[in-house]
Protein backbone atom coordinates (compact mmCIF):
# COMPACT_ATOMS: atom_id res chain seq x y z
CA UNK A 1 0.00 0.00 0.00
CA UNK A 2 1.44 3.32 -1.03
CA UNK A 3 2.22 5.66 1.77
CA UNK A 4 0.42 9.06 1.88
CA UNK A 5 3.42 10.95 0.54
CA UNK A 6 3.61 8.70 -2.54
CA UNK A 7 -0.14 9.04 -3.09
CA UNK A 8 0.10 12.81 -2.90
CA UNK A 9 3.11 12.76 -5.25
CA UNK A 10 1.19 10.64 -7.76
CA UNK A 11 -1.88 12.79 -7.44
CA UNK A 12 0.01 15.99 -8.10
CA UNK A 13 2.40 14.85 -10.82
CA UNK A 14 1.20 11.56 -12.30
CA UNK A 15 -2.55 11.88 -12.59
CA UNK A 16 -3.39 9.01 -10.24
CA UNK A 17 -0.39 6.92 -11.33
CA UNK A 18 -1.07 7.17 -15.08
CA UNK A 19 2.16 9.12 -15.54
CA UNK A 20 0.40 12.13 -16.97
CA UNK A 21 0.82 15.52 -15.45
CA UNK A 22 -2.22 16.48 -13.41
CA UNK A 23 -3.28 19.48 -15.41
CA UNK A 24 -6.22 21.65 -14.41
CA UNK A 25 -9.52 20.56 -15.91
CA UNK A 26 -9.89 23.26 -18.55
CA UNK A 27 -12.41 23.56 -21.37
CA UNK A 28 -9.58 23.44 -23.89
CA UNK A 29 -8.76 19.88 -22.77
CA UNK A 30 -12.21 18.60 -23.67
CA UNK A 31 -12.64 16.60 -26.88
CA UNK A 32 -14.87 19.32 -28.32
CA UNK A 33 -13.68 22.51 -26.64
CA UNK A 34 -16.46 25.12 -26.49
CA UNK A 35 -14.14 28.12 -26.79
CA UNK A 36 -11.86 26.97 -29.54
CA UNK A 37 -10.47 29.86 -31.53
CA UNK A 38 -7.89 32.62 -31.45
CA UNK A 39 -9.03 33.94 -28.07
CA UNK A 40 -9.49 30.55 -26.39
CA UNK A 41 -10.91 30.73 -22.92
CA UNK A 42 -10.24 34.45 -22.77
CA UNK A 43 -12.95 34.90 -25.41
CA UNK A 44 -16.03 34.68 -23.18
CA UNK A 45 -14.37 36.91 -20.58
CA UNK A 46 -13.31 39.60 -23.06
CA UNK A 47 -16.48 39.55 -25.13
CA UNK A 48 -18.66 39.24 -22.05
CA UNK A 49 -17.26 42.53 -20.78
CA UNK A 50 -17.57 44.06 -24.23
CA UNK A 51 -21.21 42.98 -24.45
CA UNK A 52 -22.04 44.28 -21.00
CA UNK A 53 -20.31 47.58 -21.72
CA UNK A 54 -21.91 48.18 -25.09
CA UNK A 55 -25.19 46.36 -24.89
CA UNK A 56 -26.12 46.81 -21.25
CA UNK A 57 -29.79 46.33 -20.61
CA UNK A 58 -30.74 46.13 -24.30
CA UNK A 59 -30.60 49.94 -24.59
CA UNK A 60 -27.36 51.69 -23.66
CA UNK A 61 -27.51 54.22 -20.84
CA UNK A 62 -26.94 58.00 -21.01
CA UNK A 63 -23.73 57.47 -19.03
CA UNK A 64 -22.48 55.12 -21.71
CA UNK A 65 -23.30 57.61 -24.47
CA UNK A 66 -21.54 60.36 -22.51
CA UNK A 67 -18.43 58.18 -22.25
CA UNK A 68 -18.56 57.59 -26.01
CA UNK A 69 -18.91 61.36 -26.56
CA UNK A 70 -15.87 61.98 -24.33
CA UNK A 71 -13.84 59.45 -26.31
CA UNK A 72 -14.83 61.23 -29.55
CA UNK A 73 -13.77 64.57 -28.05
CA UNK A 74 -10.42 63.11 -26.95
CA UNK A 75 -9.80 61.70 -30.45
CA UNK A 76 -10.56 65.12 -31.96
CA UNK A 77 -8.15 66.82 -29.53
CA UNK A 78 -5.51 64.23 -30.46
CA UNK A 79 -6.04 64.97 -34.17
CA UNK A 80 -5.59 68.70 -33.68
CA UNK A 81 -2.62 68.17 -31.35
CA UNK A 82 -0.84 65.94 -33.89
CA UNK A 83 -1.55 68.61 -36.50
CA UNK A 84 0.13 71.30 -34.40
CA UNK A 85 3.34 69.31 -33.80
CA UNK A 86 6.21 71.02 -35.59
CA UNK A 87 7.69 67.93 -37.20
CA UNK A 88 4.26 66.38 -37.59
CA UNK A 89 4.57 62.64 -37.89
CA UNK A 90 6.53 62.89 -41.09
CA UNK A 91 5.26 60.35 -43.57
CA UNK A 92 3.02 58.87 -40.85
CA UNK A 93 0.97 62.07 -40.53
CA UNK A 94 -1.64 61.24 -43.18
CA UNK A 95 -2.12 57.58 -42.12
CA UNK A 96 -2.40 58.64 -38.46
CA UNK A 97 -5.04 61.24 -39.30
CA UNK A 98 -6.99 58.76 -41.42
CA UNK A 99 -6.90 56.10 -38.68
CA UNK A 100 -8.17 58.60 -36.09
CA UNK A 101 -10.95 59.76 -38.44
CA UNK A 102 -11.89 56.15 -39.17
CA UNK A 103 -12.05 55.40 -35.45
CA UNK A 104 -14.40 58.37 -34.89
CA UNK A 105 -16.48 57.34 -37.90
CA UNK A 106 -16.91 53.77 -36.62
CA UNK A 107 -17.70 54.89 -33.06
CA UNK A 108 -20.47 57.25 -34.22
CA UNK A 109 -21.95 54.70 -36.63
CA UNK A 110 -21.77 51.81 -34.17
CA UNK A 111 -23.03 53.50 -31.02
CA UNK A 112 -24.74 56.81 -31.78
CA UNK A 113 -26.44 55.38 -34.89
CA UNK A 114 -27.08 52.10 -33.03
CA UNK A 115 -25.71 49.75 -35.67
CA UNK A 116 -24.00 47.89 -32.85
CA UNK A 117 -27.42 47.19 -31.32
CA UNK A 118 -29.61 46.90 -34.41
CA UNK A 119 -30.15 44.12 -36.91
CA UNK A 120 -27.19 43.13 -39.08
CA UNK A 121 -29.13 43.85 -42.26
CA UNK A 122 -28.86 47.59 -41.57
CA UNK A 123 -25.08 47.29 -41.12
CA UNK A 124 -24.87 45.38 -44.42
CA UNK A 125 -26.88 48.05 -46.26
CA UNK A 126 -24.73 50.90 -44.96
CA UNK A 127 -21.50 48.97 -45.47
CA UNK A 128 -22.53 48.25 -49.07
CA UNK A 129 -23.09 51.96 -49.76
CA UNK A 130 -19.84 52.88 -48.03
CA UNK A 131 -17.78 50.29 -49.91
CA UNK A 132 -19.26 51.36 -53.28
CA UNK A 133 -18.50 55.00 -52.36
CA UNK A 134 -14.89 54.12 -51.50
CA UNK A 135 -14.60 52.15 -54.77
CA UNK A 136 -15.90 55.10 -56.82
CA UNK A 137 -13.61 57.39 -54.81
CA UNK A 138 -10.52 55.30 -55.62
CA UNK A 139 -11.50 54.90 -59.28
CA UNK A 140 -11.94 58.66 -59.71
CA UNK A 141 -8.56 59.34 -58.08
CA UNK A 142 -6.88 56.61 -60.14
CA UNK A 143 -8.30 57.88 -63.41
CA UNK A 144 -6.89 61.32 -62.61
CA UNK A 145 -3.56 59.83 -61.50
CA UNK A 146 -3.98 61.09 -57.93
CA UNK A 147 -3.42 57.91 -55.96
CA UNK A 148 0.35 58.28 -56.18
CA UNK A 149 0.61 61.84 -57.45
CA UNK A 150 3.74 63.24 -58.95
CA UNK A 151 5.81 65.43 -56.59
CA UNK A 152 4.69 69.03 -56.29
CA UNK A 153 8.01 70.34 -57.60
CA UNK A 154 9.35 68.53 -60.60
CA UNK A 155 12.97 67.32 -60.39
Amino acid sequence: MANPITKLWNKIFYHGGNRHFLLPNVDAARPDPPNEGPFGEAGPVVFGWWNRLTYGDKVATPVFYTIVGAILAILTVLEVWFFTLDDGFGSLFVPTMLVLALAKFIIVVAFFMHLRFDKNLLSLIFAAGFVIAIAVFMIVLSVHDKVNPAPLIYP
Binding site: T76, E79, L98, A101, F112, K119, F126, G129
Partner: protein, 220 residues
Protein backbone atom coordinates in the same frame (compact mmCIF):
# COMPACT_ATOMS: atom_id res chain seq x y z
CA UNK B 1 -47.34 33.95 -49.33
CA UNK B 2 -44.43 35.63 -47.72
CA UNK B 3 -43.96 34.88 -44.10
CA UNK B 4 -44.33 37.98 -41.99
CA UNK B 5 -41.91 38.20 -39.11
CA UNK B 6 -43.12 40.04 -36.06
CA UNK B 7 -40.12 40.96 -33.99
CA UNK B 8 -39.22 43.56 -31.47
CA UNK B 9 -36.16 45.64 -32.12
CA UNK B 10 -33.91 46.97 -29.41
CA UNK B 11 -36.35 49.72 -28.47
CA UNK B 12 -39.36 47.45 -28.20
CA UNK B 13 -40.80 48.56 -31.52
CA UNK B 14 -42.80 45.91 -33.30
CA UNK B 15 -42.24 45.89 -37.04
CA UNK B 16 -44.53 43.50 -38.90
CA UNK B 17 -42.37 43.29 -42.00
CA UNK B 18 -40.47 40.47 -43.63
CA UNK B 19 -37.18 41.80 -42.32
CA UNK B 20 -38.40 42.64 -38.83
CA UNK B 21 -37.21 46.19 -39.48
CA UNK B 22 -39.65 49.02 -40.03
CA UNK B 23 -39.82 50.15 -43.63
CA UNK B 24 -39.03 53.75 -42.69
CA UNK B 25 -35.85 52.74 -40.90
CA UNK B 26 -34.78 50.51 -43.77
CA UNK B 27 -35.42 53.33 -46.23
CA UNK B 28 -33.45 55.79 -44.10
CA UNK B 29 -30.42 53.49 -44.05
CA UNK B 30 -30.64 52.97 -47.82
CA UNK B 31 -30.77 56.76 -48.22
CA UNK B 32 -27.75 57.22 -45.94
CA UNK B 33 -25.85 54.55 -47.89
CA UNK B 34 -26.60 56.45 -51.11
CA UNK B 35 -25.58 59.72 -49.47
CA UNK B 36 -22.13 58.17 -48.90
CA UNK B 37 -21.79 58.20 -52.70
CA UNK B 38 -22.98 61.80 -52.85
CA UNK B 39 -20.35 63.13 -50.45
CA UNK B 40 -17.73 60.60 -51.57
CA UNK B 41 -17.97 62.08 -55.08
CA UNK B 42 -17.53 65.63 -53.80
CA UNK B 43 -14.53 64.69 -51.65
CA UNK B 44 -12.97 62.80 -54.58
CA UNK B 45 -13.52 65.85 -56.79
CA UNK B 46 -11.84 68.07 -54.19
CA UNK B 47 -8.84 65.73 -54.10
CA UNK B 48 -8.65 65.50 -57.90
CA UNK B 49 -8.26 69.29 -58.09
CA UNK B 50 -6.09 69.52 -54.99
CA UNK B 51 -2.94 71.58 -55.64
CA UNK B 52 -4.21 72.45 -59.12
CA UNK B 53 -5.15 76.08 -58.46
CA UNK B 54 -2.98 78.52 -60.37
CA UNK B 55 -4.13 81.67 -58.62
CA UNK B 56 -4.71 82.24 -54.92
CA UNK B 57 -5.89 82.27 -52.25
CA UNK B 58 -4.63 78.79 -51.46
CA UNK B 59 -5.65 76.54 -48.54
CA UNK B 60 -2.60 77.40 -46.43
CA UNK B 61 -3.49 81.10 -46.74
CA UNK B 62 -7.14 80.98 -45.68
CA UNK B 63 -7.98 77.85 -43.66
CA UNK B 64 -8.41 78.59 -39.96
CA UNK B 65 -7.77 75.35 -38.07
CA UNK B 66 -8.50 76.63 -34.51
CA UNK B 67 -11.88 78.02 -35.60
CA UNK B 68 -12.80 74.85 -37.49
CA UNK B 69 -11.65 72.68 -34.58
CA UNK B 70 -14.15 74.47 -32.34
CA UNK B 71 -16.96 74.09 -34.87
CA UNK B 72 -16.07 70.39 -35.28
CA UNK B 73 -16.29 69.96 -31.51
CA UNK B 74 -19.69 71.72 -31.51
CA UNK B 75 -21.05 69.34 -34.18
CA UNK B 76 -19.62 66.31 -32.35
CA UNK B 77 -21.31 67.34 -29.12
CA UNK B 78 -24.58 67.92 -30.99
CA UNK B 79 -24.43 64.23 -31.94
CA UNK B 80 -24.09 63.34 -28.26
CA UNK B 81 -27.07 65.59 -27.43
CA UNK B 82 -29.06 63.91 -30.20
CA UNK B 83 -28.50 60.39 -28.92
CA UNK B 84 -29.36 61.51 -25.38
CA UNK B 85 -32.60 63.10 -26.64
CA UNK B 86 -33.60 59.82 -28.29
CA UNK B 87 -32.63 57.85 -25.18
CA UNK B 88 -34.88 59.98 -22.98
CA UNK B 89 -37.81 59.91 -25.43
CA UNK B 90 -37.60 56.10 -25.43
CA UNK B 91 -37.86 56.20 -21.64
CA UNK B 92 -40.76 58.71 -21.75
CA UNK B 93 -38.70 61.28 -19.85
CA UNK B 94 -40.02 63.99 -22.11
CA UNK B 95 -38.76 67.04 -20.22
CA UNK B 96 -35.16 65.90 -20.57
CA UNK B 97 -35.84 64.91 -24.17
CA UNK B 98 -37.08 68.42 -24.95
CA UNK B 99 -33.94 69.92 -23.40
CA UNK B 100 -31.62 67.74 -25.48
CA UNK B 101 -33.54 68.30 -28.74
CA UNK B 102 -33.28 72.04 -28.09
CA UNK B 103 -29.56 71.58 -27.39
CA UNK B 104 -29.07 69.85 -30.75
CA UNK B 105 -30.84 72.72 -32.52
CA UNK B 106 -28.72 75.34 -30.74
CA UNK B 107 -25.48 73.46 -31.41
CA UNK B 108 -26.49 72.91 -35.06
CA UNK B 109 -27.20 76.61 -35.48
CA UNK B 110 -23.86 77.32 -33.78
CA UNK B 111 -22.08 75.13 -36.33
CA UNK B 112 -23.88 76.92 -39.18
CA UNK B 113 -22.86 80.25 -37.63
CA UNK B 114 -19.22 79.17 -37.66
CA UNK B 115 -19.57 78.11 -41.29
CA UNK B 116 -21.19 81.38 -42.39
CA UNK B 117 -18.44 83.31 -40.57
CA UNK B 118 -15.79 81.17 -42.28
CA UNK B 119 -17.33 81.68 -45.72
CA UNK B 120 -17.60 85.44 -45.22
CA UNK B 121 -13.97 85.59 -44.08
CA UNK B 122 -12.88 83.65 -47.16
CA UNK B 123 -14.80 85.98 -49.46
CA UNK B 124 -13.17 88.97 -47.74
CA UNK B 125 -9.79 87.38 -48.43
CA UNK B 126 -10.65 86.96 -52.10
CA UNK B 127 -11.67 83.31 -52.17
CA UNK B 128 -15.01 82.92 -53.95
CA UNK B 129 -16.63 79.94 -55.65
CA UNK B 130 -15.31 81.07 -59.06
CA UNK B 131 -11.90 82.35 -57.96
CA UNK B 132 -9.96 79.10 -58.44
CA UNK B 133 -10.34 75.31 -58.34
CA UNK B 134 -9.82 75.24 -54.58
CA UNK B 135 -12.64 77.74 -54.06
CA UNK B 136 -15.02 75.89 -56.35
CA UNK B 137 -14.50 72.43 -54.88
CA UNK B 138 -14.28 73.70 -51.29
CA UNK B 139 -17.47 75.77 -51.37
CA UNK B 140 -19.45 73.05 -53.18
CA UNK B 141 -18.38 70.36 -50.71
CA UNK B 142 -18.73 72.28 -47.45
CA UNK B 143 -21.75 74.21 -48.76
CA UNK B 144 -23.69 71.00 -49.44
CA UNK B 145 -22.69 69.73 -46.01
CA UNK B 146 -23.94 72.97 -44.47
CA UNK B 147 -27.19 72.56 -46.41
CA UNK B 148 -27.58 69.09 -44.88
CA UNK B 149 -27.04 70.57 -41.40
CA UNK B 150 -29.65 73.26 -42.15
CA UNK B 151 -32.20 70.64 -43.25
CA UNK B 152 -31.43 68.69 -40.06
CA UNK B 153 -32.06 71.79 -37.93
CA UNK B 154 -35.42 72.36 -39.67
CA UNK B 155 -36.33 68.71 -39.11
CA UNK B 156 -35.49 68.95 -35.41
CA UNK B 157 -37.48 72.16 -35.04
CA UNK B 158 -40.41 70.15 -36.46
CA UNK B 159 -39.70 67.44 -33.86
CA UNK B 160 -39.73 70.05 -31.10
CA UNK B 161 -43.06 71.36 -32.40
CA UNK B 162 -44.47 67.80 -32.41
CA UNK B 163 -43.16 67.41 -28.87
CA UNK B 164 -45.00 70.54 -27.76
CA UNK B 165 -48.22 69.06 -29.22
CA UNK B 166 -47.68 65.87 -27.22
CA UNK B 167 -47.05 63.82 -30.37
CA UNK B 168 -43.56 62.66 -29.39
CA UNK B 169 -43.56 59.81 -26.88
CA UNK B 170 -41.82 56.48 -26.49
CA UNK B 171 -44.43 54.93 -28.81
CA UNK B 172 -43.50 57.35 -31.59
CA UNK B 173 -39.79 57.58 -30.78
CA UNK B 174 -38.94 56.23 -34.23
CA UNK B 175 -39.84 59.67 -35.61
CA UNK B 176 -36.97 61.16 -33.62
CA UNK B 177 -34.74 58.18 -34.40
CA UNK B 178 -35.02 58.95 -38.13
CA UNK B 179 -34.00 62.56 -37.52
CA UNK B 180 -31.19 61.29 -35.29
CA UNK B 181 -29.81 58.92 -37.94
CA UNK B 182 -29.73 61.79 -40.42
CA UNK B 183 -28.04 64.06 -37.91
CA UNK B 184 -25.36 61.53 -37.01
CA UNK B 185 -24.67 60.94 -40.69
CA UNK B 186 -24.08 64.65 -41.17
CA UNK B 187 -21.64 64.42 -38.26
CA UNK B 188 -19.65 61.53 -39.73
CA UNK B 189 -19.41 63.32 -43.07
CA UNK B 190 -17.89 66.30 -41.25
CA UNK B 191 -15.44 63.98 -39.45
CA UNK B 192 -14.08 63.02 -42.89
CA UNK B 193 -14.17 66.58 -44.28
CA UNK B 194 -12.36 68.00 -41.24
CA UNK B 195 -9.59 65.43 -41.48
CA UNK B 196 -9.11 65.34 -45.26
CA UNK B 197 -9.74 68.95 -46.28
CA UNK B 198 -8.65 70.87 -43.20
CA UNK B 199 -5.98 68.88 -41.34
CA UNK B 200 -4.38 66.95 -44.20
CA UNK B 201 -5.05 69.58 -46.88
CA UNK B 202 -3.93 72.57 -44.83
CA UNK B 203 -0.41 72.55 -46.23
CA UNK B 204 -1.65 72.72 -49.81
CA UNK B 205 -0.31 75.74 -51.60
CA UNK B 206 0.16 76.94 -55.10
CA UNK B 207 -0.29 74.33 -57.79
CA UNK B 208 2.22 73.52 -60.48
CA UNK B 209 0.98 73.85 -64.03
CA UNK B 210 4.09 73.20 -66.05
CA UNK B 211 7.76 72.47 -65.47
CA UNK B 212 8.50 76.10 -66.39
CA UNK B 213 5.97 77.19 -63.78
CA UNK B 214 7.68 74.96 -61.21
CA UNK B 215 10.99 76.58 -62.09
CA UNK B 216 9.56 80.04 -61.43
CA UNK B 217 8.18 78.84 -58.08
CA UNK B 218 11.62 77.64 -56.90
CA UNK B 219 13.32 80.71 -58.35
CA UNK B 220 15.08 78.86 -61.16
Amino acid sequence: MAQVAVEQDQHGHVADTNTGISNRKLLMWVFLASDCLFFGSFIATYLVYRNESIVGPFPNEVLDIPLTSVSTFVLLMSSLAMVLALNYVQKDRLGLARFWILSVIVLGLGFLGFQVFEFMTFVDEGLTIHQNLFGTTFFILTGFHGLHVFVGVLWLIGMLFAHSKGALTSRSSEDLEMAGLYWHFVDIVWIVIFTVIYLIGYADGEGVETIEHAATLIGG
